[in-house]
């Protein structure tokens, strides 16, 4: 369930990149990563999908989680700000990449009606809340470690909502094809402490979606591997509709499948607020 995406842009992005060669051949790696973020985490001004997570343990046993995810870009580029067309269309990264994520769980049975809300701020720690129906309690959750596992999966919070661009030093290693698609191969090395020592990403030159990522641990051994297993066009936006993250060393794996994907829902910020945890925006969850 890593990145979530967008809508608007791909078509336009493609058109634009084609039109402006300078952008088609970005010289610096940071710019490629910026575009990747835009295509992967910020696509469209809002987004919704029914998400099916399959967690597979080393023993081969599977666990399922089903949820509906809503996302709204609230920074410049979101409806609450004065939209700047370039940002809105997803062509450039919002300067203030604030977002809201709302996740409503359908299954397993005992977590039904649990809901999770994240206010993501570019400049500071996220706010997170979880609604616990059995206690009728909205619990604030600290977001200190964004590299911790998301809902017991192999994806981290960062994998879901994106990592600060400046947190890593990016380097363009080479250009190569992956599965027949020309890619930028980027190496990202954290500036501070992180769960990985380095990460290698294959970014599709055509749509800037990450097709594959390899995470290396402190022992410089591969420990996590991300794969975009299925990319579909949704409303003209190339969207990763099936992705997997494999913890190589433990043999644990999580597969995330999106269905019923929509962009630009016309969501209002109030609909994704703390109040919504107890009274979820029903119309979006069907």
């Amino acid at each position: 369930m890593t990145g979530f995406m967008l809508k608007t842009a791909a078509a336009m992005a493609l058109a634009m990149t084609a039109a402006t060669p300078a952008q088609a051949q970005p010289a610096d790696a940071a710019a490629i990563v910026r575009k990747m973020h835009q295509a992967f985490f910020y696509q469209g001004e809002s987004f919704k999908a029914r998400v099916k997570m399959t967690l597979t343990g080393a023993s081969g046993k599977e666990r399922l989680r089903e949820l509906t995810m809503l996302r709204l870009n609230t920074g410049p580029g979101g409806p609450s700000a004065r939209p700047d067309e370039a940002v809105r269309s997803g062509l450039s990264m919002p300067k203030n990449g604030d977002q809201r994520y709302f996740m409503y769980f359908h299954s397993p049975g005992d977590v039904r009606r649990m809901a999770f809300l994240v206010y993501k701020y570019a400049a500071r720690e996220d706010d997170r809340w979880l609604f616990i129906p059995a206690l009728n309690l909205v619990q604030r959750i600290a977001a200190k470690d964004s590299q911790s596992s998301f809902a017991g999966s192999d994806f981290s919070y960062e994998d879901v909502s994106g990592r600060d661009l400046e947190a890593d030093e990016h380097k363009l290693l080479r250009e190569e094809e992956l599965g027949g698609k020309p890619c930028h191969v980027i190496e990202s090395v954290p500036r501070g402490s992180a769960s990985y020592k380095r990460k290698t990403s294959w970014v599709d030159k055509a749509n800037f979606l990450p097709l594959k990522e390899e995470y290396y641990d402190v022992q410089d051994q591969l420990f996590k591997e991300f794969l975009a297993e299925e990319v579909k066009d949704v409303d003209g936006a190339p969207t990763v509709t099936k992705r997997s993250m494999k913890s190589v060393k433990s043999g644990h794996k999580t597969v995330v499948e999106f269905s019923d994907v929509r962009y630009r829902l016309g969501l209002r910020a109030e609909e994704l607020s703390e109040r919504a945890l107890r009274n979820p925006p029903g119309s979006w969850l069907k």
Binding site: R63, F105, A134, R140, I141, D217
Partner: protein, 778 residues
């Protein structure tokens, strides 16, 4: 027929000594070329094949709960407390460096900086590593102190109750070498230094260190034992050449046997690494040939004739002692454990080989001895003039003249020993294979005093209920909680951890940290939501380690403060009793390294005991065939039986655990302790019949005294040689070696003494019964 063949082998060797020696040396060199191909396997775990039940079930449990086979526990102790920026900084640096060691499963290292802590402050729930950064001020330190000691999941696990000792648990990837990782950790802590003391403990450290040390010791002690034997032989016979010849006899057998083992592609395992020392011991049997040769050389002018007459006289006992020894080890071929079979086959092969060498290589070497040196050496070999011979004669005389006193004294000892054997405690403790002052054992002791325990077992609770996700029900959780409390009443259980601890912790934290809510909540739904909440932020392994994904199984971690196999046995018993007292549709199965140790030790031990009993039977049969009389076999059997019972009685009375090394020794004792009887009885009966044949009959008492004085001297020499060689082991740093040394020294001396005193007494007392059958046959 057989006798003739052996005789002619000896004759051939005496006639063509150069050929025999050249051929032997060539084959030896051939086998020596195999040595560079040797592979070693230092892991005692491989005593059980990978498809053995316990390894299969342990693997399955490890997969289900994402667990590791091996874990190293690193202890950091500061008498004035850990909670100061200096020590905490060291803990952080050490942890960070440990994470980078290859073979360490970095993602699941548990220590101050990596373990997940669940807290609620200002209404915010937080699941994050306990100590992300080292607190810089008093407030930060106080906060850390509070978090550490209010959370029962930390106290006794990563920090001692008094705050002076902390631990980092370092799981290892499959196949990593525990000693190699431990050595790197030692290097890391050595660089830190300071007032803190550091301790590296855990099964992989003990096991891999033991495995490595064992090979090292074999490389030191096998040659050292050989050297001592060489020196003692030189003192006995005063001839360098013959001493070397005897030594070569053993070396050749070792090279051939080990070479064959390597050639066949077997790795040298812990058990087979002991084979050289065993073979060296068995080779001492050739001392009887030397002993007799020196007596003969004095009586016989022609050297060749002396050699051949020697072979004729000792041929039969040497053949049968070899047969008895080989049989004692060959029964191991029928055991379940592969390394035990390999070991049995290896030593049996070497024993047969030694016997062949005794009839070929040894007589051939005799022909090269210079006349003068034999003459000089054999000067002392006279039963009238030799002090040793006179003493031995007196010993046998004691048995022959006061048989009742001797037999009854023996029986009294025997009765005490039998009583002692009932007190034998079957137990194994690998850490105690190291000396009390060793680094491994000190680390283990310190950590076990301060923390929950370095030995880890699991109890897997499998729901048999039809309800889905049954583990989430308050009923199931309370059952597990009750089991934990029951286990914690056992003296050696230091700490238990289960999913219940997480659930209770979250319940409390979500209720404003109110200790009244440190309980299992009321509904399954709430449990499910708690666990989900926890999994929203915790490491996936936190929950995976204690419940399976479908919540059908829970895993209780049981930390034990001792590596005694018995402790895990008690845990299993307590769990069974709990299950009986409070029945619930659940099944409890043990797993983990503590359980594995229990099983493999038991398997090896019982396999050895089975082999021991089988060998007892086989050896009796061999004696009966050798003496062509069951009655004589019974007499010959007595010293063996007495030796074994006396030693095990002493083990029981001394309170020493009957463990795996001792069980391995049982087999050796059989093969060796019977040797003296075979020599004694064979030579005694030969003496009686030869004197009768020459119409110069001798009284039984006199014949016994002659036997004790002449072949008896060989027995004494054999025993002394043997004991001298193995006494070297008393100085070994690993206790099983000390045990082996003490065991063999006392076994040789005891069985020699029994043979020289007790057999004469028995023969005198049952002379009519023994000789009646003989007369009838004639």
């Amino acid at each position: 027929m057989k006798r003739l063949r052996d005789f002619s082998l000896a004759a051939f060797s005496v006639d063509h000594p150069r050929w025999v020696v050249a051929l032997t040396v060539t084959i030896t060199l051939g086998f020596l070329t195999q040595f560079p191909k040797a592979r070693t396997d230092t892991n005692p775990k491989n005593m059980l094949p990978p498809d053995s039940e316990v390894r299969v079930s342990n693997d399955a449990v490890e997969r289900t709960f994402g667990l590791y086979e091996d874990m190293i526990a690193v202890g950091i102790a500061n008498e004035s407390g850990l909670l100061n920026p200096g020590t905490l900084g060291k803990i952080k640096r050490i942890t960070d460096e440990i994470l980078e060691i290859p073979g360490v499963a970095a993602r699941d290292v548990a220590g101050f900086t990596t373990i997940d802590n669940v807290t609620a402050e200002n209404g915010t729930l937080r699941v994050s590593p306990l100590m992300g950064e080292v607190p810089k001020d008093a407030g930060g330190l106080e906060e850390l102190r509070r978090q550490l000691f209010e959370n029962p999941m930390f106290v006794g696990r990563i920090v001692s109750r008094d705050g002076s000792t902390g631990a980092i648990y370092v799981p290892l990837e499959k196949g990593a070498n525990g000693k190699a990782v431990a050595d790197q950790i030692r290097e890391i802590v050595r660089r830190e230094g300071g007032p803190e003391s550091y301790h590296i403990a855990g099964d992989p450290v003990a096991r891999d260190t033991f495995g490595t040390e064992m090979f090292k010791l074999m490389a030191i002690f096998a040659p050292l034992a050989g050297l001592v034997m060489f020196a003692v032989r030189y003192l006995m016979f005063g001839d360098l050449f013959l001493s070397i010849a005897l030594m070569m006899d053993a070396m050749i057998a070792i090279v051939w046997s080990m070479g064959l083992l390597i050639m066949l592609g077997f790795p040298i395992h812990i058990m087979s690494s002991m084979a050289p020392v065993f073979l060296m011991a068995i080779a001492t049997d050739s001392i009887h040939i030397f002993n007799e040769f020196y007596f003969r050389r004095k009586e016989e002018q022609d050297k060749k004739a002396a050699i051949l007459k020697t072979m004729e006289a000792v041929g039969r006992p040497v053949r049968y002692t070899a047969l008895a020894t080989a049989a004692g080890f060959a029964v191991l071929l029928f055991m379940d454990i592969i390394p035990v079979r390999v070991f049995g086959g290896l030593v049996a092969f070497g024993t047969v080989l030694l016997r062949i060498l005794s009839f070929s290589f040894v007589p051939a070497m005799f022909t090269f001895v210079r006349e003068e040196s034999i003459k000089k050496a054999s000067q002392g070999e006279d039963i009238e003039s030799s002090r040793a011979s006179r003493l031995l004669g007196r010993l046998a005389g004691l048995g022959a003249r006061r048989p009742w006193a001797v037999v009854l004294t023996g029986l009294a000892f025997f009765a005490v020993a039998v009583a002692g054997t009932t007190r034998i405690r079957v137990n194994n403790n690998m850490v105690e294979w190291f000396k009390a002052s060793s680094e491994v054992r000190t680390a283990d002791r310190v950590m076990n005093q301060a923390l929950g325990g370095t030995s880890l077992g699991y109890l897997v609770i499998d729901s048999k209920a039809t309800e889905d996700e049954f583990i989430k029900t308050p009923q199931a959780l309370r059952h597990i909680e009750g089991l934990q409390r029951r286990l914690e009443r056992l003296p050696y259980v230091g700490k238990t951890t289960s999913v219940v601890d997480y659930v209770k912790r979250i319940n409390r934290v979500l209720h404003k940290d109110d200790p009244a809510h440190d309980t299992v909540p009321e509904t399954k739904e709430l449990v499910g939501q708690y666990l989900f909440l926890f999994s929203m932020s915790a490491k996936p392994s936190d929950l995976d380690n204690v419940v399976d994904p479908s919540f059908q199984k829970a895993n209780v971690w049981v930390q034990l403060k001792t590596w005694d196999a018995k402790a895990m046995r008690d845990v299993i018993e307590a769990a069974k009793a709990y299950q009986r007292d409070t029945p619930l549709a659940m099944e409890i199965k043990p797993a983990g390294i503590a359980y594995f140790n229990l099983v493999w030790n038991d398997t090896v031990l019982w396999d050895m005991i089975k082999g021991f009993l089988l060998a007892l039977a086989v050896i009796f049969a061999i004696l009966a065939v050798n003496f062509r009389s069951a009655r004589w076999a019974m007499v010959g059997y007595v010293p063996l039986l007495f030796t074994v019972v006396l030693i095990y009685g002493a083990v029981g009375i001394a309170g020493k655990d009957f463990d795996m090394p001792i069980s391995v020794l049982s087999c050796l004792s059989l093969g060796m302790a019977v040797d003296f009887s075979i020599h004694f009885i064979n030579r005694f009966r030969e003496r009686i019949s030869s004197r009768r044949a020459s119409h110069d009959p001798e009284s039984i008492e006199d014949a016994l005294i002659w036997t004790a004085a002449r072949p008896g001297k060989g027995i004494l020499r054999n025993a002394v040689l043997f004991a001298a060689a193995f006494s070297v082991m008393l100085f070994a740093p690993l206790t099983p070696y000390v045990t082996v040394g003490a065991f063999i020294v006392s076994m040789m001396l005891l069985s020699a003494l029994l043979c020289l005193v007790y057999i004469p007494a028995l023969i005198v007392l049952s002379r009519n019964w023994l000789f009646a059958a003989e007369e009838v046959r004639k």
